[in-house]
């Protein structure tokens, strides 16, 4: 087994644990590269099927290319697709910094769906490598009654034994890609020929390294217009993956604030 085989196997193990332990779970599909890899891994884990609903929290502000990608692959991958509109910005705490407030719409949509469907678990494609509070996560990460995350008080997790017992009113976030790096994701996309939103590939000297809402996501300078060139770029870049995601940088602990109240 080479490195990609190892990380793939670990993700498949996690997905199968999730599916075994919970009846009411959804996978989050942000339409980005990581969640596409996650769906691909699910098809591997479940022999061509994605056996749980796939949730898209629609802020209404995604790029047009993302919406058309969603339509095409919902059909092609035969997904049990759920779209939820995020509540308007007016319903979100105005004390939050602007981009954080905007990003919180997604958290709010997710929380409402969790209550509505009485979800036990939400499968999310976050990675330790992309952001330093995510690096502190567990694979099976318990959330409180209001979806809050207490980074201090996380259950011990070792030898692939995950805490799957749920306190009433709480849910678990499951992170099958936690151990992947950005480079791993691109090497795997290359090996498996996984389809992507074209915005990742450079046009006129710019490309998106991470996709979010149009108004709070910026492209980076790049000439990489193929998967191969992106891999080469990643080997030498001094720019962080989420540089273009404004909500990460508004204040020192902007992302910690977002995540501690339930953001992905």
């Amino acid at each position: 087994m080479d490195h990609l085989d190892c990380i793939e196997a670990h993700s498949i193990y996690i997905l199968r644990e999730a599916f075994n332990k919970f009846n009411r779970l959804v996978m989050l599909w942000s339409l980005g590269k990581d969640s596409n890899v996650m769906l691909w891994l699910a098809k591997k884990a479940f022999f061509g099927h994605v056996p749980c609903p796939v949730l898209f929290c629609d802020t209404g502000k995604k790029f047009p290319e993302m919406y058309s990608f969603q339509k095409k692959y919902t059909r092609e991958w035969d997904l049990d697709f759920i779209r939820r509109e995020c509540p308007p910005i007016e319903e979100i705490d105005p004390a939050l910094p602007p981009s954080v407030r905007s990003a919180s719409r997604k958290t709010e949509a997710l929380k409402r769906l969790i209550d509505e469907l009485e979800l036990q678990a939400v499968v999310v494609g976050i990675r330790r490598d992309e952001e330093s509070t995510r690096a502190k996560e567990r694979v099976f990460s318990p959330r409180g009654e209001n979806a809050e995350w207490d980074f201090r008080d996380q259950p011990p997790e070792f030898w692939d034994h995950f805490r799957t017992e749920l306190l009433p009113g709480t849910h678990i976030r499951i992170h099958p890609l936690l151990h992947w790096t950005e480079l791993d994701v691109w090497l795997y996309i290359q090996r498996e020929s996984i389809p992507l939103v074209p915005l990742y590939f450079a046009r006129d000297g710019k490309r998106y390294r991470s996709l979010g809402d149009m108004d709070i996501t910026k492209p980076v300078n790049s000439k990489a217009d193929t998967v191969e060139k992106i891999i080469t770029e990643l080997l030498t870049t001094k720019v962080a993956e989420r540089t273009g995601r404004m909500m990460d940088h508004e204040t020192e602990d902007a992302f910690e604030m977002l995540r501690s109240v339930g953001y992905m």
Partner: protein, 627 residues
């Protein structure tokens, strides 16, 4: 740059252990900087947040990402960062050094291929150096890379380095851990990490990164016997795919497998995979596989597949070296849920042999094991358990214990010296691994045409338990089922004739019913018990004997209704005080918290209740038809 060369770089997981404030996070942050892994905006951020706190540039903030960690200047939660050199890729695991966060330390350290033990040149070996050292030893590391940090604080003195080296060596020697290398560094200034130190010309050995070049990932246990714990069974389409991760060994299409604990034997028909056109014919350790089988045998999660020529041990008793993580201590006689790969069993602490003082490595006898202590215990599983000795096959020889919602311990399996404990031969390994393998429960089910188990009816006197039990027995028997009712009439008259109705006698009576019912279930019979069994703890004990085959059925009827029905006139007597401790009147009935099924005989007719139970039985006890 080709794909193959990058993805073939092996990844090594390294944990950095050591006492609080000896510089673990700082060292990792500095390595990230010196290997070019810190991005430009991250460095700008670190500068800004260090300045805001009136500090020089703090490398540890690259890892200590949480406000609480930065403000207290300590790592609270374990984290992992990724570093790549020309030839290798590393996952570096930072763990908290503070004694409050040992849970997080173990969560980080358990997955590592190699360990670095970091020691402050000024302070030398401290409490958590010892604790972390012992945890590494317990996790199976027989060597560590020792790094003596903060050499800048001791003027880069060779004498001090030599002193600490002797101190550390002496401590590691006691545990039998070999230091693969001992390196002087200053993490703050980058001396001896990626670049050779100009300040320590007397040291001619490796830098940290060059020393790490020689570290290898833990090999996949390919040469050990096959162990494939069943994770799940999928029937998304016409295929019945058995999935699991091969923990050790290898398999190929056509191999004969034996599945513990039923010990049923069949062959692998195919290895299934999605997204490949070529048939998969073989697989080996580390792979998550899906297989189909020649025969449709009964299987479920927690069964363990091995080659029939080389099965795992099957036992009720084993010794374990455990690390206790919970505030409530481990005590003799307590029960916990054990998870070993996908296998789950209730285990009871049969014996506490000793506890090891991780500070001076002395051993003491004890009756309890407290938080953050390592102890040796004998555990007793209520149903046969498949495992390997840790030193033989680590992946099948390690487990965790749960108490309620929480992981309370990690443990390693040892199977030596069981005879010395006075365990009788029927309990020891050799006996168990042969007995029971000729006629399996699966054989019995197939012969009977249905599965067996216990329907444990519980409810107030007069709720309708016996009526339901006897009616079901009649209906099922006429359909050709092996079915039998245990109730007060046939138990109290013989087996429990020596017992009265005191709490102790009631407890003993229910214990006997549980044991008998479990024997019937193992004999292939669907057994229906009809006892008030008012206490949750008593019912839980019965369940623990045979958890997968135990079905608690709550026969619910209000006390008023039961009093009105009063078929045996018992409530009248109880009200007059002629019967003491009568459930519902003078002693409590504890309602089941989560029964498998509930029937309400106030709201439904007896026939409706029977229908409900029959459809439950149909669902749980019928055998899928063979194709």
């Amino acid at each position: 740059m080709t794909t193959i060369s990058i993805s073939n770089i092996e990844q090594i997981k390294l944990v950095i252990a050591g006492h609080v404030d000896h510089g673990k996070s700082t060292m990792i942050g500095r390595i990230m900087q010196d290997t070019g892994k810190l991005h430009d905006d991250k460095i700008a951020l670190l500068k800004a947040i260090s300045k805001r706190r009136g500090m020089p540039l703090e490398w540890a903030f690259a890892l200590d990402a949480m406000r609480a960690e930065r403000e207290q200047g300590i790592t609270i939660q374990t984290t992992q960062v990724f570093i790549r050199t020309a030839t290798k890729s590393y996952v570096i695991i930072d763990v908290p050094g503070h004694k409050e966060f040992i849970n997080n330390m173990i969560s980080g350290a358990a997955s590592a291929d190699a360990a670095i033990l970091l020691v402050d040149a000024k302070e030398g070996v401290q409490d958590q150096t010892r604790v972390h050292g012992y945890i590494l030893h317990w996790l199976g590391f027989d060597s560590v890379l020792v790094v003596i940090n903060k050499m800048d604080l001791v003027n880069y003195s060779k004498n001090r380095f030599d002193e600490i080296t002797i101190q550390v060596n002496k401590h590691l020697e006691k545990m039998g851990i070999i230091p693969t290398d001992i390196l002087p560094v200053s993490a703050l200034y980058g001396d001896g990490l990626v670049h050779k130190s100009q300040n320590m010309p007397w040291f001619t050995g490796h830098t940290l990164m060059s020393s790490l070049e020689t570290v290898l990932p833990k090999p996949m246990p390919m040469e050990l016997p096959l162990r494939l714990p069943i994770q799940d069974i999928y029937t998304f389409d016409e295929r019945r795919i058995i999935v699991g991760r091969i923990e050790s060994g290898k398999l190929k299409v056509g191999d004969t497998l034996m599945f513990a604990p039923s010990n049923a034997i069949t062959k692998i028909r195919s290895i299934e995979a999605w997204g490949t056109n070529l048939p998969v014919l073989a697989a080996s350790s580390g792979q998550c596989v899906g297989i189909t089988l020649e025969d449709h045998i009964f299987l479920e999660r927690g069964f363990l597949a091995s080659h029939n020529t080389d099965p795992a041990l099957q036992t009720y008793f084993f010794r374990a070296r455990i690390f206790w993580l919970a505030d409530t201590p481990l005590e003799l006689g307590r029960r916990y849920k054990l998870k070993l790969t996908t296998i789950e069993r209730i285990v009871e602490v049969y014996k506490i042999e000793k506890v090891i003082d991780v500070f001076d490595l002395s051993e003491h006898s004890t009756s309890r094991i407290e938080r953050n202590m390592i102890g040796e215990v004998v555990l007793h599983a209520r149903a046969v358990l498949s495992l390997d000795e840790f030193t033989f096959n680590p992946r099948l020889g390690r487990f965790v214990l749960f108490d309620g919602y929480d992981i309370v311990a990690g443990g390693l399996v040892f199977t030596d010296k069981l005879q010395e404990l006075g365990l009788t031969s029927s309990q020891s390994l050799q006996q168990i691994s042969t007995v029971g393998s000729y006629v399996t429960i699966d054989n019995r089910w197939r012969a009977n045409g249905h599965k067996s188990g216990i329907l444990w009816l519980t409810g107030l006197s007069g709720s309708g338990k016996s009526t339901l039990a006897l009616a079901l027995e009649n209906i099922l028997f006429r359909k050709g089922w092996q079915v039998f009712v245990l109730d007060g009439d046939n138990i109290r008259s013989g087996l429990s004739a020596d017992l009265g109705y005191s709490p102790a006698d009631r407890y003993e009576n229910i214990r006997r019913v549980g044991e008998i019912a479990s024997l019937f279930a193992n004999a292939g019979v669907l057994v229906i018990t009809s006892f008030i069994s008012p206490y949750r703890s008593d019912r839980a004990r019965a369940r623990a004997l045979i958890p997968t085959l135990f079905h608690e059925i709550y026969v619910n009827a209000s006390l008023d209704t039961c009093k009105k029905r009063d078929p045996k006139g018992l409530y009248k007597k109880a009200n007059k005080g002629e019967i003491i401790e009568f459930t519902g009147i003078s002693s409590p009935y504890e309602i089941p918290a989560s029964p498998e099924l509930e029937v309400n005989t106030c709201k439904q007719s007896i026939n409706q209740s029977i229908e409900k139970m029959l459809s439950y039985i149909q669902e749980k006890f019928s055998i899928e038809s063979d194709k």
